[in-house]
């Protein structure tokens, strides 16, 4: 979408242009505390109700209370709208409403804005009594002028003061009015949504907010000359909208998990916030332990005593839990661990996305500790995966690690409302007496599976131990037992793998030049990029892996249908051609490493750690470059 640029000039004569677009990204940015997020959330909800695909992400400054008018302090929200389902946060922003030029500058500096972005900017700073502020404004304008943005100055403060005394508390609704006109949103629906959003506040608040909305709307109507139409779709059925962490919390409830043990860590914590709010009414206990080790221990103790439980964390916390994970594998106690990945290593980038814990999750436990690793790819899957993970953990008597990430955790998008089933819930712990002669690890030699004994079951008394043990749970170091028990714990995984289906191919299942392989939250962006590349005529397809350990079957055969296979991941890999980097010493992306080892196919990788989700446009570029015989 190319938009003409009128610079910062006032609009003289109005000549309307209306663009019908299938996809557009909008931002509202401000100092924190000015309500930009509320404005965006309401705008997003109304758009979803009008049948648009929506993906919103909050723009969060690193500090809790950053100084005002500071590029690093830009706080706000980004909303991507589409005429179809929107599966990722998209590329650059096309329209931005900014409450001050410094917040805008912050977005500009991060290359967040499209070259032809339309900017609606509060202009009170241009004539501010403080000369320092006026100077900042001028400098900012000068820097912004190097791009071909179209900046439209809006007297937001002045306008808002006609309705409220403190414009700081009302600008967001005025901005909502601007967007409502700009995108031709249903004004009545927007009013309803405002009333809903402020239902717990005094009625005067809603009244004023609606006045401000109308004011923004009519200001836009009088002064703006551009409008966008994003056609909506017929809703296939009822939809719900939430972020991935809320989906995990509700998914845990749906799965019948009754105890969650955790220690706060970004970006996983909001799962516990949600559970803290709702879990007790389901009879569920959210236990905030003294540290991550204890959280794992409590979850394992509770699982051992009855129903499977789970623990939620992020990378650094998972590191602390490794010894306990090994114990759960060794003693065959079911456990679900959710790792909402963030940037690493060490404290890294707590609020930003990365997919760098795959190897640690799969191989990070000292000793041989085979277990299941799986990853949701969408917000809806964050909900569904919990039931499946719990069921697998119980069926296999082992650990299931679920790898989500900051992208899913903070992205908000609608998905079809799940049709809930009581069958998803775990039954109460088996308390039947154990028949004489049964053993606590009565491994079926074919499958390695055995029946779990739970305290309370008469006749099942035994001491489980993290030491090497035999079928009766007796400590045993003899070669035969050690080899056999390891085999049994590993065979379960092979049995499980035999029940998995090969992944589906997006694009051409027959094969082609390039196959992109992804996992986790990048699915939407990858498939969008592949779709665009195919439109360009490139012979490229993609596949997305849900099960990372054990890997889904058929990969080698699928890879064989393509001339080249390349993973796309948000983790670090060396780039061949960089100083000292050769094809031999190159460090690959994490999934690429696993696939190379498992399939002996020469899988390439394109991975980046940019502190943000991958943009489909960038993946598209990478596809073009990495086509066999292409530029790279």
């Amino acid at each position: 979408m190319k938009l003409e640029t009128a610079g910062a000039s006032a609009l003289a004569e109005k000549e309307m242009s209306v663009h019908t677009v299938s996809d557009i990204s909008v931002e509202v940015v401000s100092d924190s505390g000015e309500g930009a997020q509320k404005c965006g959330t309401i705008f997003g909800s109304v758009s979803a109700k009008m049948g648009n695909g929506v993906w919103t992400v909050e723009i969060i400054p690193a500090e809790v209370e950053p100084p005002p008018r500071n590029p690093a302090g830009a706080s706000g929200i980004r909303i991507r709208l589409g005429d179809k389902e929107v599966t990722n946060w998209g590329d650059e922003t096309n329209v931005i409403v900014a409450f001050n030029e410094q917040a805008l500058l912050g977005r500009h500096d991060l290359n967040a804005l499209a070259d032809d972005a339309v900017i609606l900017l509060e202009n009170m700073w241009a004539t501010h009594p403080d000369p320092a502020v006026r100077k900042e404004w001028e400098d900012a304008m000068e820097r912004l002028s190097h791009r071909s943005y179209r900046i439209i100055e809006v007297p937001m403060e002045e306008q808002c003061l006609t309705v409220v005394d403190n414009a700081r508390k009302g600008k967001n609704m005025f901005a909502l009015g601007l967007l409502t006109w700009l995108f031709d949103r249903d004004l009545e629906r927007t009013k309803e949504q405002i009333a809903f959003a402020f239902r717990t506040k005094k009625p005067i608040i809603t009244e004023n907010n609606i006045k401000l909305l109308e004011l923004g709307y009519s200001w836009a109507e009088e002064n703006l000359d551009v409008r966008y139409v994003v056609p909506g779709m017929e809703a296939a059925g009822p939809m719900v909208v939430m972020n991935g962490n809320e989906a995990i919390a509700l998914g845990a409830v749906a799965a019948g998990l009754d105890l969650a043990a955790m220690y706060p860590i970004t970006p996983a914590t909001s799962v516990s916030h949600k559970l803290g709010e709702i879990f007790e009414k389901y009879g569920g206990v959210l236990h905030q332990a003294e540290d991550e080790i204890a959280a794992a221990g409590v979850a394992i103790g509770a699982s051992y005593a009855g129903k499977c439980t789970f623990t939620i964390t992020s990378g650094p916390g998972m590191a602390l839990k490794t010894e306990f994970l090994g114990l759960a594998v060794m003693t065959e106690i079911p456990l679900v661990l959710v790792n909402v990945q963030r940037g690493g290593p060490s404290t890294g980038l707590p609020t930003k996305v990365e997919q760098s814990d795959l190897l640690a999750a799969t191989y990070g436990q000292p000793g041989d500790a085979p277990h299941v690793v799986m990853a949701p790819a969408t917000i809806g899957e964050c909900f569904d995966i919990m039931t499946t993970a719990r069921r697998i953990a119980e069926a296999l008597r082992t650990v299931v690690i679920v790898l989500s990430d900051a992208n899913l955790a903070t992205g908000v998008a609608p998905f079809p409302r799940p049709e809930l089933s009581p069958e998803w819930q775990a039954g109460p712990p088996d308390q039947r007496p154990i028949p004489a002669g049964a053993k606590p690890y009565d491994w079926d030699p074919e499958t390695g599976l055995s029946r779990r004994f739970i305290p309370g079951q008469a006749g099942g008394e035994h001491t489980l131990t993290g030491l090497a043990h035999d079928e009766r749970s007796k400590v045993a170091y003899d070669s035969d037992t050690v080899q056999r028990s390891m085999t049994m714990r590993s065979r379960k995984l092979a049995v499980f793998q035999s029940t998995l289906l090969p992944p589906e191919i997006n694009g051409d299942p027959e094969g082609g030049d390039l196959l992109i392989v992804g996992w986790g939250s990048t699915k939407g962006a990858i498939e969008e990029a592949v779709g665009r590349a195919r439109k360009e005529g490139l012979s490229v397809s993609s596949t997305h892996l849900t099960f990372l350990s054990p890997l889904q079957p058929g990969l080698k055969e699928i890879f064989g249908r393509f001339e080249k296979v390349m993973t796309v991941e948000i983790n670090y890999s060396d780039i061949v051609g960089d100083p000292y980097i050769t094809p031999e010493n190159r460090r690959y992306g994490q999934l690429a490493m696993m696939l190379r080892a498992q399939t002996l196919v020469d899988v390439d990788c394109w991975t980046r750690v940019l502190g943000e989700p991958l943009r489909p446009g960038k993946i598209l570029q990478a596809i073009r470059q990495h086509m066999p015989g292409g530029e790279a």
Binding site: A235, G256, D258, G283, V298, A305, E323, G456, L464, T465
Partner: protein, 318 residues
Amino acid sequence: MIMPSCSLLHLADEDDDRVFEMGDYEGPIARWCSGCGDHSVLTAAQRLMADKQLKPETTVFVSGIGCSSRFPHYMNTYGFHGIHGRALPVATGVKLSRPELDVFAVMGDGDCVSIGAGHWIHATRYNLDMVALLLDNNIYGLTKKQTSPTTPRGYKSNTQPRGSYLLPMNPLEATLGVTNASFVAQTAEWIPAHLFATLKAAYEHRGFAFVRVLQRCPHFMPDLFTDAVKTPDMIEILDHPEGIRAAGIEKIYKNTTRHDPADLNRARELAEDMSAIRLGLFFRDESRPRYEETRALQKRTAREKMDLLNEDFDRYAV
């Protein structure tokens, strides 16, 4: 109080006429060194179970790693021999999800006072209804004689062959300093009557009962308690009608001090003063909030949960 957390189904099949003898709680022969103090703690625990007629299937012994942590293997109950230092988190999970089970945590001094120190402090604060036994031999036994946090200053070990550098940590003093501590006692494994009376009081206590058991390790600390064993007067028994009274020991252990276990300040003073080895109940307060009660919730059926979940989804409806 026994409140079934699950179904009533299993109640039905239970053989209620069972009468348990001590032998019913015995597992395989314990493989500690001969003369190891752990043996008598094991016997006392089995005697306690017979005394209280605890059911083997609803009793769980959780331990960490160490000589002492082998304990559950030698009991004929459910046992959880986990990882070093982490007995208490596991025990917390067991009790939290199944409050009707009887839970015992058995730890060594390395286990509890060193690697698991954080958990020890917090478990004291949670105050779940369980018995926590610290089998304190002032040394790392299993790993062959390394200094522990309770090793006497100057004692030579394999890691500190010129004698330990630091003052030993005092576990009683530390526990008594933790908010919400509700039961703190000390006993010695070589006085079986006192040991048993202490375990019994700990079991009867409603809350987190922390018991430090002075334990001989003839293998690595042969001299540690020899004087105390030979000279009963080195031991001072805390006596009070509300405290722990072991019948029959008064003839040998004449050195007693009256101490009301409700008196926390005095308990702290007595614990801090190392001039005598004091055995008995330092402190007890049953009124302190217990975590499993604070967190007790009405259980929901699958259908009820799904109805509630539907309501929660309503709030996210587009």
